[in-house]
């Protein structure tokens, strides 16, 4: 970074420490300087981290209400006929992002070393998972024995979300099961655990009243559970 050039305004800009006229000059420069754009993105992340260092009392509850109220009032003027439910295509758009960024944390890690086609399959699977989670018509059941939820859409398509599940031991895998009321367990897919949140699109449909459970099995999975479930949910 050469001193005395407009490049070295990047840190000050990231900290909002430029006067208005200086900021304008820098922004004009930014439009032409790839290097500064990259540097700025990175330094802005770091500057933003300073926000987390502040120790302050929580905001009053009225602030949340005020913001949401004002937002609702504003948008009504713009889009008066907006449908209430999430349109499907919108969820798909969000799903693409969500699948890349957050939802995939658990499942994703397992696919990184696989081929591109495997990765694509996982991405599509995650996208569907997000749709099921976002569907207002999906029914949800909390896990007992673990932290998480099972969501089942009206057609029986289901997704299992487990938080803070340790990675399966070497040579082992987690396997999900759908157990229809009065029936035998149906294998519903294997997953590796680890990471922050595991999102598993179940490979079997979940009828009303069925139990979704997971066991630890040998790598590759089995056709019938051989161990006691580590968690389950009655849907």
């Amino acid at each position: 970074m050469e001193p005395g050039t407009v490049h070295d305004l990047t840190a000050a800009y990231a900290l909002d420490a430029l006067a208005a006229d200086e900021a304008e000059v820098y922004e004009a420069h930014l439009a032409q300087c790839e290097r500064c754009r990259e540097e700025l993105a990175s330094l802005t992340d770091t500057a933003g981290a300073l926000a987390w260092a502040v120790d302050a009392p929580p905001p009053p509850a009225r602030l949340r209400e005020a913001i949401l109220g004002a937002a609702a009032a504003e948008r009504e003027n713009v889009v008066p006929l907006r449908p209430r439910a999430l349109p499907f295509r919108l969820v798909s758009a969000a799903a693409a992002v969500a699948a890349c960024v957050a939802v995939g944390v658990g499942v994703w890690a397992a696919t990184l070393s696989h081929s591109l086609s495997r990765e694509r399959a996982a991405r599509a699977s995650d996208a569907t998972a997000v749709e099921i989670l976002a569907d207002d018509a999906s029914r949800r059941a909390s896990l007992s024995g673990g932290s998480g939820v099972v969501a089942v859409d009206p057609t029986g398509q289901a997704v299992l979300v487990v938080r803070r599940l340790p990675a399966a031991p070497s040579g082992k895998t987690y396997e999900a099961w759908v157990i229809p009321h009065g029936g035998s367990p149906v294998p519903a897919g294997t997953f590796a655990g680890g990471g922050g949140t595991s999102v598993v699109r179940l490979r079997a449909t979940v009828p009303q009243g069925a139990v979704v459970a997971a066991t630890v099995e040998r790598a590759g999975g089995v056709q019938a559970p051989t161990t006691t479930p580590i968690f389950s949910a009655t849907t």
Partner: protein, 196 residues
């Protein structure tokens, strides 16, 4: 409180907000409202002004969500940058430059019992990184970011050439970046255990 979107990434929520999904804005507020308010309060030192700044920033998220480009940066950074800008604009407009800014804030009020452990962890992590900076760099970062001073004002206040102030801010930020590591998942939202 039911949080049906608790499993969504920040970026997905911004996309949903762009399509007028109010619950997405609510979820973003539930994730970042507290930090946003703390930041605005630190800069503005006035609860009413801080509330205004946070409200304007979140409405700005609501209005401009469709222009957010995930490839260019994290949604959390975007939101906190909007909050910070509003706060800095307001403090400069107010002209009531805090005479006490140079002593920089005995940490106040926090550590509330209801505070999320995750927030506390983030705070300690960034505070620790700040502590490791040379004093002059930390002072420049804190006065600029929390005090809302421009670089020229800082140069005058600290009796240093402008070039020195620029160097300190740049060196301080790049050192912070190293100390915090690439701020990947650990600075992003991680759903708590009671969100369903």
């Amino acid at each position: 409180m039911s949080r049906p979107l608790a499993h969504f990434s920040d970026e997905a929520l911004v996309l949903l907000a762009a399509r007028s999904e109010q619950s997405a804005l609510a979820e973003l507020y539930d994730r970042y409202g507290r930090t946003a308010y703390g930041l605005a309060l630190r800069v503005l030192r006035d609860e009413a002004l801080a509330e205004d700044a946070v409200q304007e920033a979140f409405l700005s998220v609501w209005r401009t969500a469709s222009r957010f480009v995930p490839e260019r940066g994290k949604a959390s950074t975007w939101i906190l940058t909007l909050v910070h800008r509003r706060a800095v604009d307001a403090v400069r407009r107010e002209e009531r430059r805090r005479a006490d800014s140079l002593e920089l804030a005995p940490e106040q009020g926090g550590g509330a019992v209801d505070e999320d452990a995750w927030l506390r962890l983030q705070r300690e992590r960034v505070q620790e990184a700040l502590r490791q900076l040379p004093d002059a760099q930390r002072e420049a970062l804190e006065l600029a970011y929390y005090g809302g001073f421009s670089q020229s004002e800082l140069a005058e206040r600290l009796g240093q050439p402008l070039g020195t102030i620029k160097s300190r801010m740049f060196a301080g930020l790049t050192r912070m970046r190293e100390l915090l590591g690439e701020p990947g998942m650990e600075m992003s939202w991680s759903p708590g255990p009671s969100t369903t």
